[in-house]
């Protein structure tokens, strides 16, 4: 069983919102119709996005860390939004595990959004249906594209490669290795929804090294300061056998 997902590396995300704009651009011009906006050039603009980048700060000034936190549908393995849908418009694809909404079946009751603890679903006020991240299902399943482009728009747009895409059920995939080796974690694991998308934590790459380890004391090729012989004369070390 394939479970496609994103792994988002918080260690390298710089919060540039390139994933947000590329997502909006791709999905607003796609087969499913626009992601509509209300008052886009007016006061209090709002609209539908599949992906948002939030910013958090940990610590107390001046010892703070800024976390840019991209947030989209996590494509849960046990999605709580799917069984509550009264029409069957919300479903999880059998072949690749992507959670989708059939916009032709959705009645716009918003019940699925109540059942999602992550707030991943957004209601389209103009088309009156519930929308959510599709993992660019029209891209990733389009066999006419070269394989390198068969990825979600956000992944292709990310300038720091903070977004990795792949099958988390394949233990050798890039995403599985990243989760396994770099401490990937799911959001709100307490609920047991088993989110497929994982996040990689901040990592500090420092090695423990001491000053005296940087300079070799007994370097025989050292020209600058040739060791002076101890007054006691030759030692065992000076004797070549």
């Amino acid at each position: 069983m394939t479970q496609l997902a994103l792994v988002i590396d918080l260690n390298v995300c710089v919060g540039c919102h390139a994933c947000v704009t590329s997502c909006k651009e791709w999905n607003t011009s796609g087969w499913a119709g626009p992601l509509t906006d209300q008052r886009p050039y007016d006061a209090d603009p709002t609209g539908v996005f599949f992906n948002r980048v939030q910013t958090y700060e940990a610590g107390v000034f001046p010892n703070t860390e800024t976390y840019h936190f991209p947030k989209s549908c996590l494509h849960c393995e046990d999605p709580p939004c799917v069984p509550v849908c009264p029409t069957g418009a919300s479903y999880k694809r059998e072949d690749n595990g992507v959670v989708l909404v059939d916009y032709d079946k959705c009645i716009g009751c918003k019940y699925c959004s109540w059942a999602c603890p992550y707030g991943a679903r957004e209601f389209d006020e103009q088309q009156k249906v519930m929308k959510k991240c599709t993992l660019c299902i029209d891209r990733i399943t389009d066999m006419s594209l070269p394989e390198s482009e068969r990825k979600p728009a956000c992944v292709l747009a990310c300038p720091t490669r903070a977004r990795i895409y792949g099958d988390i059920h394949d233990p050798d995939s890039e995403v599985s290795v990243a989760i396994r080796e770099q401490g990937g974690y799911p959001l709100q694991p307490e609920w047991g929804t088993k989110p497929s998308n994982h996040y990689l934590p901040r990592r500090k790459t420092r090695i423990q090294i001491h000053e005296d380890e940087l300079v070799r004391v007994d370097n025989p090729l050292k020209k600058e300061a040739l060791p002076t012989l101890p007054e006691a004369g030759e030692t065992l070390d000076d004797v070549a056998w």
């Binding site: 918080l10 008052r39 700060e57 029409t87 999602c116 957004e122 609920w191």
Partner: protein
Amino acid sequence: MHPAFSVIFLTTLIGVGQGLFLALYTGQLYALANLLPAQSSNFYAVGSMVSLVLLFAGLIASFFHLGHPERAWRAATQWRTSWLSREVLALPAAMGLIFLYGTVHFFGLTKPLFVISGTLPVDFSLIIGGLGTLAVFGLFLCTAMIYASLRFIKAWYSPLTVANFLFLGIASGFMLASAFSAYQGNSLVGFYGTWAVIATLFGLLTRVATLYRNSHFRCKVDLKSAVGVHHSQLEQKAQGFMGGSFNTREFFHGKSQGLLNLIRYAFLLMVFAVPVILILLAYALESETLPLLAFGIQYLGLILERYHFFTEAQHPQNLYYQSMA
């Protein structure tokens, strides 16, 4: 959660309608056992009609909650997994049975079909009424479980939610039955009034227990778990937008704590205290208008109660929308 008036009217109106039908059928059962004087078939027919109108009004209200009401028929398909879908089936089932119940009484088709042990005459109305009672209880369960099954919303995720919907629906229905009897000038005012008071007191017990529960728990998840950064000082600086989104509109009520306190005291008075006092007064004064007043005040109180029910619910997604720098 942001209270949706369509859902507030749906749940309160069908609650009254269901309670009224249960009251009618209870009256019939008591009359069958010779504990109450038998009523004319007109009483049951008109009563069923009123119940049906209330359920229909609730159904109409529910359509205002939908983005695509023309596709509402699809909502009957997922009854295996969705309580909302089950409600969509239970509501017309209850309406159909109540309609049949009223029709049977209207045309006087109450000749006993057979007699059990020589004492219990069974007619169409008894059978249809029994099925209707099952459907009504099923509908109460479905309506309440829509909220009580959402495990992320802890304020609702409790058997108390089901108890509240049940008792408050029955209370308001019997209250209306009492008012209806007073209007018709029959002797059932006291009977219905007594049961309305009993149901109201049960509702008081479960609703106050709910309020107590909801003021004493902590959410299972916090911001650290939501973001996955387990730092003792974690603060949101940006939400990803500045103009608001569905997430900031649907899941926040945006009302001040003072207003919510006011609404809470108002509904506690209007749903529980005032109607009970009015019914007792009506009993003492043998008044015909006070039961109607009691019902009216209780129904308005129920609208406030349901409003408060929505504002009580804290959705975990709100963790992601706590502040904006």
